[in-house]
């Protein structure tokens, strides 16, 4: 199902669409309140953008600096060219540890690499410990949002799901009660798992350390209780200096949820006594994107999700309609890099309104990149041929003034004499909208008459 079809299905449930839109708009408003308390907000965004610019331009050096420092700290560093290599490395570490079970905190990278499916197939029991991620995992679904994975679920539905899987009382939907049940359920997993995987929000080249941001402390509980801590990061997570965290930690949570800072910003540098710590540095198409001048700065993304919350299309079509680990506007400029054919619809799932670029804390020109991806996808032949033919026809009419005037007049006459010729169910415009009322005279005709007088 392409985005447009999935979105049509989503919007069929009018009340649910209203609820989904309002829920995410509420988060956008929280973000607005938080950022308007920072008079220097726009300067902070500019700083974040420039630091990332520097990081991307010197990625090769920063990655090696990071690796050297991490090795000095006693961390094992692995390099993965793609998702498959990443997954194999995780499996190998688990085998060496003798672990068949693992807890995992939120990592969009592992979603991108389809790690869970891979490990489950190999007989490893993986438990997502972020509450929202656990919900979608129990429901056997991918997350629909990078920060709020189960934002498309209502509390009553989570009550049903927990009743089925965690044995909560039937019909219970009190968020506190359900959260408590999830805590007890996850507590047991934290206590018994010997391996924990976390994502990485920021990897600091200067120190070889990395920072993981969560609101639930689940990354810490996993990592602190396990014998093995695996941290998976995309190559673009690098920042040069520890002091740059002062910019990014301020930007991240305000943009994401309107909090001044995430509840937990955990700094990991070295394994504690008796623990082993691994960092897997993953490319998976990122260097290809880095090599595309028009799209390279999409790699500045710090995964705050603000562009999703503000996107009027995302709010009314849901995260799953983007059929990609990262949904919304940012997903739509990242996904074609991974697979143009499969994701050719995504850059068109936007009105190019530009709100995404304005909320982006690192000033990615998201809507301009959507426009540019459209040009690339059309040039590479990934746009439907009927659409292409239609565009060719339109271009030939619009570049020929006489033909334009003739077609315009003929069209208007037809609409007046036989409204059904356009006002019919085959015309997508007419499904939920009236056609404009065709006037007898075009402006030009009026103007020419006026000039004669």
């Amino acid at each position: 199902m392409n985005h447009s079809e999935a979105a049509e299905k989503f919007t069929k449930d009018v009340d649910r669409t209203t609820w989904h839109d309002k829920t995410l708009w509420f988060v956008r408003e929280k973000r607005d309140k938080a950022v308007f308390q920072i008079p220097e907000w726009e300067a902070l965004r500019e700083a974040g953008s420039r630091i990332k610019h520097n990081a991307l331009s010197n990625l090769d050096e920063y990655l090696l600096e990071f690796e050297q420092n991490a090795l000095k700290n006693g961390v094992k560093v692995h390099w993965a060219a793609d998702g498959h290599e990443h997954n194999e490395i995780v499996l190998q570490i688990l085998k060496e540890t003798g672990a068949t079970q693992m807890v995992k905190s939120k990592s969009m990278l592992t979603e991108e690499c389809h790690l869970n499916e891979f490990l489950i197939e190999k007989g490893v029991d993986v438990v997502d410990t972020d509450l929202g991620e656990r919900v979608v995992q129990l429901a056997n679904e991918p997350p629909s949002h990078i920060v709020m994975p189960c934002i498309h679920w209502k509390k009553e539905e989570i009550g049903e799901l927990f009743h089925e899987h965690l044995g909560t009382e039937k019909g219970a939907s009190d968020p506190k009660y359900l959260a408590e049940a999830a805590r007890q359920h996850l507590r047991e997993k934290f206590m018994t798992r010997r391996a924990a995987l976390t994502g990485v929000n920021f990897a600091v080249a200067e120190t070889g350390g990395f920072v993981v941001c969560t609101n639930e402390g689940n990354a810490d509980m996993g990592a602190h209780l396990a014998d093995v801590h695996i941290a998976s990061m995309g190559i673009e997570k690098i920042i040069p200096k520890a002091r740059h965290l002062g910019v990014f930690l301020r930007l991240l949570a305000r943009s994401a949820t309107g909090q001044p800072i995430t509840t937990y910003s955990s700094h990991f540098h070295r394994p504690r006594q008796g623990q082993t710590m691994h960092i897997i540095i993953v490319d998976n198409g990122r260097t290809t994107q880095l090599g595309r001048p028009d799209f390279r700065n999409s790699l500045k993304c710090i995964r705050c999700g603000a562009c999703m919350n503000t996107c009027p299309v995302y709010r009314r079509s849901g995260g799953h309609s983007y059929h990609n680990a990262v949904a919304g506007p940012i997903g739509s400029i990242l996904a074609p890099n991974l697979d143009m054919r499969k994701n050719a619809d995504l850059p068109f799932a936007s009105t190019l309104c530009g709100s995404c670029s304005n909320v982006c804390p690192v000033k990615i020109d998201i809507h301009d990149q959507l426009y540019k991806w459209r040009q690339v996808l059309a040039a590479e032949g990934y746009v439907d041929s009927t659409k292409k033919q239609g565009m060719k026809l339109m271009a030939s009419v619009l570049s020929n003034p006489k033909l334009f005037r003739f077609s315009g007049k003929a069209g208007r006459t037809l609409m007046r004499l036989a409204p059904f010729s356009v006002s019919n169910p085959l015309n997508p415009w007419y499904k939920q909208r009236e056609m404009p009322e065709p006037p007898k005279e075009s402006f030009r005709e009026w103007y020419v008459n006026r000039e004669k007088k």
Binding site: T351, A395, R444
Partner: protein, 245 residues
């Protein structure tokens, strides 16, 4: 001031009254207005669909029509004006194309920034909701954007406030997209229509008798929704209001 009027193709064909209001308003304010007779379209429908390359003949035609000695080219649409400003190039007459890119104005920015209009001889005794079209707002910066931490301003509001007895209403979402989006409105019909309904309802809920804006394309989409669902609100282009006697 010698200016050229550029009307979007669909305005010429479906909304001549918007062209007439724009022309009369500019003349009222002392401009000498020419409407080049062989104009068609800015080429945006093709470009936004990914076929920028198919728009080249349109671009050349645009330069033939508007190249020359106009002090300004005025368009009652932020979206088309923005497209020309960002994308117009000519293989034959790039100097003229550059002149056009630097001298094309959306109507309200021309009135506030170039003519520096401070008063208008207009009266319009209605409650009016202003729809901020995205390309005019976020592209041409006709008004401050709600996402940015920056001082508010609005060129279209400034003009509407000069109109006697006109009352501007407040919206819950003052600059959310209406969902038109060019070919988006047919290729993503479901979301487009839903966005349009939400926009119209914001205006109706907050007491607008007239819904106005600077882009007839957004208004054509919203008007289609208003008429289908019989919402009690009238849709008018801002030029029609500013041109009221």
């Amino acid at each position: 001031m010698k200016v050229a009027l550029f009307l979007p193709c669909y305005v010429d064909q479906f909304y001549p009254k918007v062209g007439i209001a724009t022309l009369q308003l500019l003349e009222k304010l002392g401009c000498t207005v020419t409407y080049p007779l062989n104009q068609t379209c800015c080429g945006q429908p093709m470009a936004n669909s990914g076929f920028e390359n198919l728009a080249q003949d349109c671009n050349e035609l645009f330069v033939e029509n508007f190249g020359g000695s106009f002090d300004a080219i005025i368009c009652p649409s932020g979206s088309c004006a923005l497209h020309v400003k960002h994308h117009l190039h000519s293989e034959k007459r790039e100097n003229d194309a550059t002149h056009i890119r630097n001298h094309i104005y959306e109507l309200t920015e021309f009135l506030t920034d170039v003519l520096k209009v401070e008063q208008l001889p207009a009266r319009f005794p209605y409650k009016v909701g202003l729809h901020q079209s995205c390309h005019g707002q976020r592209g041409l910066h006709l008004s401050q954007m709600s996402e940015l931490v920056a001082a508010p301003y609005s060129k279209p509001e400034k003009l509407l406030n000069m109109v006697d007895e006109l009352e501007l209403i407040n919206l819950e979402r003052k600059d959310e997209c209406c969902g038109f989006g060019g070919t988006f409105c047919v290729f993503e019909e479901a979301v487009s229509a839903r966005m349009g309904v939400d926009r119209v309802e914001d205006h109706v809920r907050n007491g607008a008798e007239v819904l106005t804006g600077g882009d007839m394309s957004c208004l054509m989409h919203l008007e289609g929704i208003v008429r289908r669902n019989k919402y009690p609100v009238k849709v008018m282009h801002i030029a029609e209001i500013l041109n009221q006697a």
